[in-house]
Symmetry: C2
Amino acid sequence: MPEYNTPVRDIQFVLFEMLNAEQHYQSISAYQEINRELLSAVIDEAAKFADEVLAPLYQVGDKEGCTWTPEGVTTPTGFKEAYQQYVANGWPAMSEPEELGGQGLPHSFGGVINNEIVGTANWPWGMYPGLSHGAKVTLRTHGTEEQIQRYVPKMVEGAWTGTMCLTEAHCGTDLGLLRTKAEPNPDGSYNITGTKIFISAGDHDLSENIIHIVLARLPDAPEGTSGISLFVVPKFKVNDDGTIGERNNVNCGAIEHKMGINGSATCVLNFDGARGYLVGEPNRGLPAMFTFMNSARIGTAIQGLCTAERAFQGALEYARERLQMRSLSGPKNPEGIADPIIVHPNVRRMLLTQKAFAEGGRALMYWLGQHLDIAHSDQGDKSKASDDLLSFLTPIAKAFLTETGVEAANYGVQIFGGHGYIKEWGMEQIVRDGRIATIYEGTTGIQSIDLLGRKVLGSGGELLKNYTKIVHLFCKEHADNEAMQEFIEPLNAMNQEIGELTMQIGAAAMENPEEAGAASVDYLMYSGYFVLAHMWAWIAFTAIQALESDAAEADFYNAKLATARFYYQRLLPRTLAHKAAMLSGASNLMTLPEEHFEF
Amino acid sequence: MPEYNTPVRDIQFVLFEMLNAEQHYQSISAYQEINRELLSAVIDEAAKFADEVLAPLYQVGDKEGCTWTPEGVTTPTGFKEAYQQYVANGWPAMSEPEELGGQGLPHSFGGVINNEIVGTANWPWGMYPGLSHGAKVTLRTHGTEEQIQRYVPKMVEGAWTGTMCLTEAHCGTDLGLLRTKAEPNPDGSYNITGTKIFISAGDHDLSENIIHIVLARLPDAPEGTSGISLFVVPKFKVNDDGTIGERNNVNCGAIEHKMGINGSATCVLNFDGARGYLVGEPNRGLPAMFTFMNSARIGTAIQGLCTAERAFQGALEYARERLQMRSLSGPKNPEGIADPIIVHPNVRRMLLTQKAFAEGGRALMYWLGQHLDIAHSDQGDKSKASDDLLSFLTPIAKAFLTETGVEAANYGVQIFGGHGYIKEWGMEQIVRDGRIATIYEGTTGIQSIDLLGRKVLGSGGELLKNYTKIVHLFCKEHADNEAMQEFIEPLNAMNQEIGELTMQIGAAAMENPEEAGAASVDYLMYSGYFVLAHMWAWIAFTAIQALESDAAEADFYNAKLATARFYYQRLLPRTLAHKAAMLSGASNLMTLPEEHFEF
């Protein structure tokens, strides 16, 4: 397995140079004391932990997987010790509110540390604290004060972890079909009965207790999505003094054997009259769950860039070392038996694709992180604008970055050639682990319908316009900058075009709603390339500015410019194919009768 | 795991309706007695064996994998019994010459039966007889009469199998670097010493003996590719009377743990002064190996369509059964809890993509098979023309069908949602197994350089023109057919365009050879979509003809037309992206210095 190092310089570039994080945080009242020095020190610490503790367990976790017995799930060798160290270092508390025992660092910075840095080093391990974060946020947002005090501080500390229990065997996407029952007890609690599947971190040996957030139906609840309520169901009941009480009737019945993320336990959880407590209003579970869902989608989008970055680093190391054939333009390593394969244009094409997706994705996710901070900061219209922007960009980020992450991971295997296919070399694991990301937390198809149907057409185009206005201002700002024109011209053209395409599809969808579904995935992918073009133009501008003022790291900034050019010239033209496909109409999909797909 | 059935009707359609196999075979002297009745009976038998014996072992092979001990490799449960049945049924002998114990059926038909039908049911199992076929052909073509008589009849019978030993740890693509030595003995034999890796079927328990074809260097051989010779090295020495003698000094030192094709043993073979015999001329091993290589590339291209077909069948079954959400245009299954997911446009988009690649790929491979027959049939200019066509189309078929096969397999996982990621459901295995196909027998990058550099530019455009002439005639033939214009117009336009693109890239490559490398993969993918467009136009014509004359199976033929339309409207526009990328030039790939890819 190639060595892995957190890309600290790239993280700093996006955070401090492109996005002026210091200024951003200081504009939000809760974060006014945050400065670059502090953040840099935390990044360095996290990178050290990720590189030295988590990354070496990545392959171990895949090889061993988790082990199930009727007593529960055991995680792979080293996972528990790493988690103890993680807790001892205070990482779970980092971006949690101080009044619940947290350190009060910004949410967006939590994304950098606990999603990206942890996740690139070892995504399956990171899912344990990751799911816990989702459960924490849901309880904090929708729980009673008593519920918050009972569960959240222990989760902030990391002594307890949490899960989100949504899926059942017959329903994943379509949660309206779920059947798990919640029957009221005289004391105000509920007995929860049903079977949940695909519960990440549903059982394990890392923490003392596991707090499940469970979707279930009250008696007489309306059918469908408006009859779903949210419950908190601890693995061990919690006494009034906060100590751990007796075992609750929730048990892990099995773990799944999966394509990847083997270090992460994916559990079947049997709730057999387990004691649970209603969180929020009856029958309002699904809207409450969307608090979690949106943050989970952002977390999963980050998995896309983690996948691309991890594959890029491995492939780059190999491409520099592996000697095979000579350069088309004459030997570059005449003393060696052959040239390193990085001399070959096609190997560079694959490496640059990985790099463009990883670095462009990072820029997008950090930018979204800043808007998350603003959306949560109670700044009235400004917060509302950020929230609207997130509504539009979240499905794009989730689907586009995970799809391109899988592409990047596959290039990692491809650059290694036959060795890429062998487990020992570590590259095929990245493909298998990354592959789940286009599925969970809403598939690419679901994100696409959410984007085009619910967000864009559903808002009468408003949510799109909010974003194109931002791009318009960006283009206007750089209209006179000669050096930026190779980026601004195509970006500006697409900024017009996406509006026109949307109108065309919207008009067709008024006649026939299948038209929206038929266009949706190509529309999302088109939008993804467009948004990443915005990021790469912004990165290019940041680099150009730095080159004008600071010659010290010219190589670094020139590499950003070269990658921006690669992105615009080689990857952005993929929008041509998506445009043609999305305009081709629903009839080429809908005409063939179901029973004639095969004979 | 979804049920698998050999797509017999589709096979018959391409063979007998589109490609007039009966007429084709009867035009070749060796095959004049072949008729449709005979071929159909063989297809039915093979389908029965594939569906009932091989397909049920597909998942078993993945789960158990192969087992290595110092005594050798044991294949998964059932593999040996299936092989015995395969031999008892005479399948290994089917398309071998009668004088060597074969049944003399055409090579192209061998591809249908022993590659496609066997391989779709269970590709990893099929690799044992598959590699054996490559070794057989190499010996038949380049061995002495004595060598042929000693080894080949037993391999035709299936009692012995064979391998191809090329790769070493430090060289896969770049065989000029290989180090395995061959030292002459006084009796004319050689002692072979070296370590070969990635040897498929290098050791196993299916056959009594394994005949290795090995690339090695004679003492004083020139460096590089012109110093490589070919040897035959049996696992057990063969006595003059044809019986099995003592063990030779070739041993399996380990097997690889891979992403997929776990049922296929991928061996490290240690040759420790093993007794071997020169095959063909000294130092002419690499050209001799190309006999095998071309047929292996065609075999691997078929893996692409097998992968797409297998994933399509599984996904289709699930898409018809899985109930989730309602159709955008109103419930289609109002009595059920939800509609089957095949009502959703995006699910149909994925299914039709799989279908278009599988069926279009089948048409291409069967057409190439006919040209293989002609190329081998000693018909002078006609054979030469087929050989030239194969030179051009083989790298396209190999790379394009395997890349699109992987895409199709990933849609199989995607359509299953979370269940697709779980091993038990059988879909993720198809991705893992199919993934090797873009790597072995020359990666996509290598095929692309072979196509653009060696074949197209290397022939001064001749090999391309031979093909575009065929497409031109096809378009001319259908120029007055109103019903065909939706296909003929874009096909004809691309037929012009590919010539122009080639000239443009050729001119750039004269100035800078990196331009060819930089354009190569996009050029190949563009060519692949173009060639498949030719196939789909041909399929459409066949369907239109049938609809005009025979109403009995109108649904079947209308489905072909619907799929052709889908291909032209939804998939063919991808050429727009490949065109733009290939014309973007080498500088966006070559400018960034190697040491500045990361900081």
